[in-house]
């Protein structure tokens, strides 16, 4: 009797404490989400604003009262946005395809086949993973010029693998290590070549990893700016990141709606892919920095 009497108020206060803790926790998460997501919300609202609302400083920036697709219409009809979008798609798809093929082969060899120099190569891949484009863009500009690829989308298809391959290989080595070697044994006994084993057994098993790496590589190509800025100077050859940043940013208020529409439309393909793959993506992100 006495024990329950003493215990009750304590349980009550622990419950209150927990409740307060939860409220504080939810409030902190809400603040965090506002901080991280407000810019995207702001882009959406602004892109839907008619010029009259964009200019009116007394109206709330948090809402649009007469939403219109005018900015999107103008962006698609009066600028080369669609062309830039298509260019980016072309460059990102081909460079990602090349990088993924090359990286899968390299990662498989580095994680499965023991050969002299494999360790050095593994470390080299990691080292190159860290080399930033801002260190390479100048000498690469002369490589691109020597090959006569100035103002060609192929200059980007040639150079984007320089940042895609190192990190794709590094991530894939991790994924391949996670697949038990025994699954390959019976196929090897049957005399299947390494390439056949890779194609028919390892790749299907590593599919979640490959899909994540594809998304990462595609995203890097999609948002790349400094190489495009350096190698491309004709509007028709620009990518979506380059065109948006160089042609649509003009202190002129009439362009804000279009600029936000452009940023949002460019972000959509990545966001949609990410929405379906976020669990794999997070796993890949943490694996990339741990392994």
């Amino acid at each position: 009797m006495t024990r329950t009497k003493q215990a009750q108020p304590r349980i009550g206060s622990i419950r209150t404490q927990r409740l307060v803790g939860r409220i504080v926790g939810y409030a902190a998460v809400a603040a965090l989400l506002i901080f991280t997501l407000y810019p995207f919300f702001s882009m959406l609202i602004t892109s839907l604003k008619p010029v009259s609302e964009l200019f009116n400083r007394t109206l709330s920036p948090f809402w649009v009262f007469h939403p219109t697709f005018k900015n999107y219409e103008d962006l698609l009809t009066q600028t080369s946005f669609l062309r830039w979008f298509g260019n980016s798609l072309f460059v990102a798809v081909i460079s990602t395809g090349i990088s993924l093929t090359v990286s899968t082969l390299a990662a498989y060899a580095l994680s499965r086949i023991r050969f002299p120099g494999a360790d050095v190569m593994g470390s080299a891949v990691f080292a190159v993973y860290l080399v930033p484009p801002s260190l390479l863009f100048l000498p690469l500009a002369s490589v691109v010029a020597h090959l006569g690829l100035d103002n060609s989308l192929w200059s980007l298809i040639l150079t984007y693998p320089t940042f895609q391959i190192p990190f794709a290989t590094w991530l894939l080595i991790g994924y391949f290590h996670g697949i038990p070697e025994e699954v390959e044994d019976s196929a090897r006994v049957d005399g299947a070549s390494r390439l056949t084993i890779l194609r028919l057994i390892v790749v299907p098993m590593a599919l979640p990893g490959l899909v994540t790496v594809t998304l990462f590589a595609f995203t890097l190509a999609w948002g790349e700016l400094i190489y495009a800025l350096t190698f491309i100077s004709q509007s028709m050859q620009e990518t979506v990141s380059l065109g948006t940043v160089t042609q649509l940013i003009r202190g002129d208020a009439f362009f804000w709606g279009q600029l936000m529409a452009a940023g949002l439309m460019a972000a959509v393909p990545i966001t949609v892919a990410y929405a379906f793959l976020s669990d794999y993506y997070i796993e890949g992100l943490t694996a990339g920095s741990i392994k």
Partner: protein
Amino acid sequence: MLTGYAFVLPAAIIILGLVGYPIVQAMYLSLTNARVGEPGHFVGLANYVALLQNSVFVQALANSMLFTVVSVTIKTVLGLAVALLLNQKFLAHRWIRGAMLLPWVIPSTFGVLAWLWILNYNLGTLNWILQALHLISTPIAWLSDPILARGAVIFVNVWRGLPFFAITLLAGLVAIPRELYEAAEVDGATGWAKLRNVTLPLIVPILSITILFSIVMTISDFNIVYVLTRGGPLNSTQVFATLAYQSAFASGNIARGAAISLFIFPALLLSLLFLLRLVRRS
């Protein structure tokens, strides 16, 4: 064994030809007086000497250091706080993690456009809020005041990089066995003591890796400064990457540009040495 070499060959060719060779080429270029369209000749360390006497470069050097130290510090502290917050059981929602990561997922080129708008002098949200709350009477020029613009670059850098810190550190926290906390509780440890004596020591490896990665990415960043300020006003937010680009293509001085971008190299090399040791251990 031959198969091994054959599989690695394409990657090796691309890495050697398009990363290894260009780095060497950049080092050579930085020792010449090459300009756009002119190969130039060897001038020794003249470019480096000239740079260190150039006030715009010294500003860019100071900015690169300042932005990296301040934003990586903020990202580390806030990232740890956010990771601890999201490690609470009742907050472990997939969609919170997923939504929080968006500034990192979406290429910075596009995300930063939103900040350009929010920080706009006349029409931006930030000045609107401050005026609506009567905290200021006239708008503040966030991006055209040298000091505020530097603050803005750091702020946007934190916005972009915080999710990366939070998610990798969260992965580190989740991996800590519960028994360790229970043992600490038996010994009478409270929240703060558990954080200091159990959590922090155990996440040091992943924390170090994240910080080193972030240092390299922050010191070499081009996109945020280029989109937000183009290095302005009056070169007050220039960093290595933007100034290298400007020297090489606005002024045509390729050799000077190469020398500027090579100032990223020591930070890269140091981080790499530490990272390789950490990665090999784990």
